[in-house]
Every structure is written in structure tokens, then in C-alpha cells.
């Protein structure tokens, strides 16, 4: 019985890891790729590690605090890393995908950085 539970956790983990990677390969701009990386990959890893934790807790009877700490750490750092990567990407003038509708963040930048964005657009066209 417990083997089935662990198998389900591990299989879900593997599936979502693969889904995150496919998302990284398929989506068209950096921001979409960050979406795939934070959501699917995080859930995949957390599911796999939960399976590992249950395996050692129930089959071996060994409580491993390190594994629990890893789960907590992944949950805490994934949004922060996504936030800082997307911010740096947008500030260095990486454009959104053509199908994007609104961008209210560019309007708040000082004049110098907005020129950077327009420059990036020009080089794209030429």
C-alpha cells in the first residue's frame, strides 16, 4: 500500500519535471519560460522529495530533517529566484513575445532605460 503511495508521488514528480523542461523549450519568451520553471519544476521536485521522505520515514523508520529542510528551502527560494531573474531580464530590455497585449512596467522606468527598450526594438527590426 505504502509502495503505491510513494510510486504516485515519484511519478507525479517526474512528470512535472519533464513538463517544466518542455515548457522551457517550447514557450517563446523568457517570461513564459520562467513561468514553466517556477511552477512545474518546483512542484515536480517537491513531490519527488516528499516521496523520498515518506520512503525513509515509513519503510526504514528514519526521520530525516535534512529532507524536510530541502522542501522548505525550495518553496522559499523558487519565487525569489523567479522574481529577480524576470526583473533583471526586463530591465536589460529583453522584449516580450509578439502576442503580448499590455506592458505597464516599461512606463514606470526612467527615460534612459526606456531608450534602451526602444533601441532593442530597433535592432530587432533591422
Amino acid at each position: 500500500m505504502i509502495e503505491i503511495l510513494i510510486s504516485i508521488f515519484v511519478l507525479i514528480g517526474g512528470f512535472f519535471s519533464l513538463l517544466g523542461s518542455i515548457g522551457i523549450l517550447r514557450l517563446k519568451d523568457v517570461y513564459g519560460r520562467i513561468h514553466a520553471a517556477t511552477k512545474s519544476a518546483t512542484l515536480g521536485v517537491v513531490a519527488t522529495i516528499t516521496g523520498t521522505f515518506l520512503y525513509f520515514l515509513i519503510i526504514d523508520g528514519e526521520f530525516s530533517g535534512n529532507i524536510l529542510l530541502t522542501i522548505l528551502f525550495v518553496f522559499m527560494t523558487a519565487p525569489v529566484a523567479a522574481h529577480i531573474i524576470s526583473r533583471s531580464a526586463h530591465r536589460t530590455g529583453i522584449k516580450l513575445w509578439e502576442q503580448s497585449t499590455v506592458d505597464e512596467l516599461v512606463d514606470t522606468y526612467p527615460e534612459k532605460e526606456r531608450q534602451l527598450h526602444q533601441q532593442a526594438e530597433k535592432t530587432e527590426r533591422s
Partner: protein, 158 residues
Amino acid sequence: MAFQILLNLLIAVVWMALQNSYTPVDFLFGYVVGIFVLLILRTVLRFDFYMRRVYAVFKLFLLFSKELIMANIDMIRIVLSPKLTNKPGIVAVPTRLSSDWEVTLLASLISLTPGTLSMDFSEDGRTIYIHNIDVPNREEMIKDIQDKFEKAILEVTR
């Protein structure tokens, strides 16, 4: 709140001393007894019972787990659809939360839930710029975020 937790721990230790056996199980039992003692004392001493906040944290955690699973079902739909038809965009969402701590928690929760990713804050930290993987309707999306998480976070901190 810190005073109440201290009081609760004290009750647990006294309980262990009364039982004259110092095991973790006795401590846990004493702690549960302490919770009930505080629950009764609440009406006499007129303080705000701290287990209410623990309950709010628990509710926030449940909401978060549900949203995380919904987020991934959403991602499956977008990533595995044969043609990419989603319309991404960056939207400014104003927030009612006031302290930095609350805004940080909100931004982290937003990043882990369906189709949204917090990208930047305004100067005063009261507006979050959110990249959304599919924006069919701007106003609806803003309302959705404000309704869902702000309420739950406010219940924990206020």
C-alpha cells in the same frame, strides 16, 4: 501573542511536572491542555486568542496548496496545447497590504499560483507588477488576485 505562547509552554511544563514523567508525549498533551486553559481564560482576561491566527495560517496553507495544483493543471493546458494561443502581458496591481513583510508574502504566493509571476515593485512598494501568461480581461485579473490572497493574508496578520 508571544506572551500567550510563553504561558502555554509554561502550562505544558507544569503539566509534565504534575505527571512526573518527562517525555515528549506528555509535553504535547500538556500543550493541548494549555490551549484549552487559554481558551477558557480568554473571556476573563480579554485577550485575543492566538490559535485563531494558527487557524488562519492553516487556511492560507490550504488555499495555497489548492492554487498550486490548479497552477500546474493550467501549465499542462498551455504547454501541451498544439498551438500557442495565450496572450501574455504585464499588469500593475495595487495592493491594500501595508507592511513589507505582507507584501513579500503576497509576491511569493503570486509567483507560485496560476499563470502569474510577480516581476517588480513600485517605489513605495504598494503596487506589484505582475506578468500574466494569459490576460483575456485586465480588470477581472486584478480583482481575482485582490480577492483571493489579500483577504487570507489580512486574516493572518490583523
